[in-house]
């Protein structure tokens, strides 16, 4: 019972501890006059609240993670021998049954006596453990509170402690990105290696033909397939370039117009409107590209005498460009807006036109942010799938003609992973290899971008 409310109780106790701690500090402060206290009462409060809540929360969450496992062990002992000997996963079915029995409304496979017996055992054990945990964590809150509260004194460097803790928190947060990367590499690396056992790396990297038509069944024998990734990467670059050719000018010009020319009123309304573009589901864009833009391009093209395939890189790239406009426009608008007015004044006072001011002063000053937003947009273009699947097709043509159908890395990954797949055929594994090399490819792009930005950064005061 108590256990169910443990989380809110701990939080309320932490709040109380905060109030108590800061109250105590305030009291000391009043007694001993100005500057006597090393840190503000706020920090003393946070210090106490931290020690009140965190150990208890840690124990609580550890228990949360371990509970299922421990309870299973406990219940297992009360079950018939043949059930006990089941393997872990199979036993989970029995446990599922027991849990369903506890809920009471569902027929189970266990015979009634066993089921109710186990259910009772489960409940009893759970209750026992849980109340133990509840008392343990409450005890910890009290202990934590007591120990930290005792420490409050004029000299306690509470601010330093709290700031140290927050810095650790910040550090941990930035570790998330690192772990994500590691996770991604791990989740594609093993399969990629398996893939390269079947297809030589060089064939993959330098091959000009992509046709993952391998046999899927032993009896299918079938075609052997070709895994040259060049056309796939070329297609990715082509489409991303088209998208950027749309998004960068439109996005940047919009950003500049909004922050430099437009009235505050216009900016207030237009900016969020543009941001809607980023949130329209890509499926919707895909339909639009495939059913409206692509036929339009084909009609226009054939009227002009070009051979346009009904699925073209141009259609997909155009629509994708529209989709990523807000990445450029909104993020750039923010950084441009943040350029101090004194810089603009400096330029305008020399008789520069707004255009010259923007080009020579404002944009360079805002450059790192702008480049960041453009990079983000490029990234998004490289990572986008649905639009290309629907509008540019899946055929891996090695071409720089935007009127032809091409395919991209992400599209191939998605179709390989969602189509009829097999655990270890090169066809499925190719998805992971593509993922890995895309990762490496964008890594290079980003390293280059980093150095470019470093070089041209103009830091204002």
């Amino acid at each position: 019972m108590l256990y169910n409310y443990l989380l809110p109780i701990i939080l309320v106790l932490a709040l109380a501890a905060y109030l108590k701690g800061s109250g105590r500090a305030k009291e000391l402060w009043r007694q001993d006059g100005l500057r006597s206290l090393h840190s503000l009462p706020l920090y003393h409060g946070l210090f106490v609240a931290f020690w009140t809540a965190v150990p208890a929360l840690a124990i609580w969450s550890l228990w949360q993670m371990a509970e299922g496992h421990l309870l299973t062990l406990a219940v297992k002992r009360g079950l018939p021998q043949e059930l006990q000997s089941l393997s872990g996963n199979e036993f989970s079915l029995v446990m599922n049954d027991v849990k369903n029995a506890i809920r009471g409304d569902i027929v189970t496979s266990l015979n009634n006596a066993t089921a109710t017996g186990s259910a009772r055992l489960y409940l009893a054990t759970q209750q026992g453990w849980q109340s133990l945990m509840a008392y343990l964590s409450l005890g910890l809150t009290i202990l934590g509170f007591y120990l930290s509260y005792r420490n409050i004194s004029l000299e306690l460097r509470a601010r330093n402690i709290v700031e140290r803790l927050s810095t650790i928190f910040l550090m941990l947060c930035s570790a998330v990105a690192i772990f994500t990367t590691l996770g991604i590499i791990m989740s594609v690396l093993i399969e990629s290696i398996a893939f390269f056992r079947e297809v030589p790396v060089l064939d993959f990297l330098l091959g000009l033909k992509w046709s993952p038509q391998t046999a899927m069944r032993v009896d299918q024998a079938g075609s052997s397939g070709a895994f040259g990734a060049v056309p796939v990467f070329a297609g990715t670059i082509l489409i991303a370039l088209i998208a950027m050719a749309i998004a960068i000018p439109i996005g940047l010009l919009s950003a500049i117009f909004l922050s430099e020319y437009a009235s505050e009123q216009v900016r207030t309304w237009v900016k969020p409107l543009l941001e809607i573009l980023a949130g329209i589901p890509t499926v919707v864009y895909g339909f639009f590209a495939a059913l409206t833009v692509a036929p339009m391009i084909r009609d226009v093209g054939s009227n002009l005498g070009f051979a346009v395939s009904s699925e073209s890189a141009l259609a997909a790239g155009l629509v994708m460009g529209i989709m990523i406009i807000p990445f450029v426009s909104s993020l750039s608008d923010d950084v441009i807006h943040a350029v101090p007015q004194s810089l603009r004044d400096g330029s305008l006072a020399l008789g520069a036109t707004s255009y010259e001011t923007i080009k020579n002063v404002v944009i360079p000053a805002a450059l790192p942010g702008i480049v960041g937003s453009v990079l983000l947009a490029v990234s998004r273009a490289i990572g986008e799938t649905m639009i290309v699947v629907m509008a540019a097709g899946l055929s891996a043509n090695l071409t720089y003609n935007p009127l032809k159908a091409v395919t991209t890395v992400t599209v191939q990954i998605v179709t390989l992973l969602t189509g009829d797949q097999e655990f270890d055929s090169a066809k499925t594994l190719a998805a992971f290899a593509l993922g890995l090399f895309l990762f490496i490819f964008t890594l290079f792009l980003n390293i280059i971008a980093l150095y470019v930005v470093r070089r041209y950064r103009e830091q204002y005061e």
């Binding site: 505050e264 101090p340 007015q341 004194s342 810089l343 603009r344 004044d345 400096g346 330029s347 305008l348 006072a349 020399l350 008789g351 520069a352 036109t353 010259e356 020579n360 002063v361 360079p364 000053a365 103009e458 830091q459 204002y460 005061e461």
Partner: protein, 293 residues
Amino acid sequence: MPAGLITALPNQLRAITMQLRLDTNGELSETSQQTVGVPFVENARMTCRKVDVHYGEKCAIKNISIDVGRNEVLAMIGPSGCGKSTFLRCLNRMNDSLASCRVSGDITLDGVNIYAPTVDVVPLRAQVGMVFQKPNPFPKSIFDNVSYGPRIHGLATGKADLSEIVESSLIKAGLWDEVKDRLHESGTSLSGGQQQRLCIARAIAVSPEVILMDEPCSALDPIATAKVEELIAELSTQYSIVIVTHAMQQASRVSQRTAYFHMGSLVEVGATEKIFTNPGHQLTEDYITGRFG
């Protein structure tokens, strides 16, 4: 009021009794003051008539009428916050970029109303240059800071030409020796006084015909100050200069005429000598003798 009529007015309007009445908000009361001294000159380069500036609701300067003569240095003095910078910024419409700022009245340059809707601010500002109170170098190299103006106005025909302009401007501003070896470092990495001189160099590099300087020597040591004053003297043979300064000595050294501002109004204008030796208004006298406040 047409400019012709004004300049035709007799030069003898002076010592008109004036009363400053402050209402409870410390704002100027409606009964407007008249300026003591000789606000108008013959053959004026710029004329200002009844200029009021409001920041939002608040009136920053009120009913300022004054001329800037040809080839003269006009000094503006007055206690901090009295509206000198505000007025200065009106003269090349720098206030346009402040959304909350409204300017009314007439200001002309060579007889053209610079606030007329048809007037382009770009040539206006090229003609009426400005040095701001707070140095604001661009986060670019020192060279680019100075060459920026000449470049956009196409004043240099080539690279060499441009370098020449940059060098001569920096020399005039007295900064050349200090920076000649580091022209490609960022302007923001200079010391406070160096930045100020950089801004002066930047402004004179486009050879404006009227130069507005808002405390151009505030961060300068006496030697650098002397250089700038020399520059002012040299420029004033050809151009008109309006300079805001807190140093009375500076005003008396460099200017032909001095204007005294007080709480948003122009209290007195006159020949510098006259102002500093025999001021026409009690407030002016109090201020220059340091008895005020």
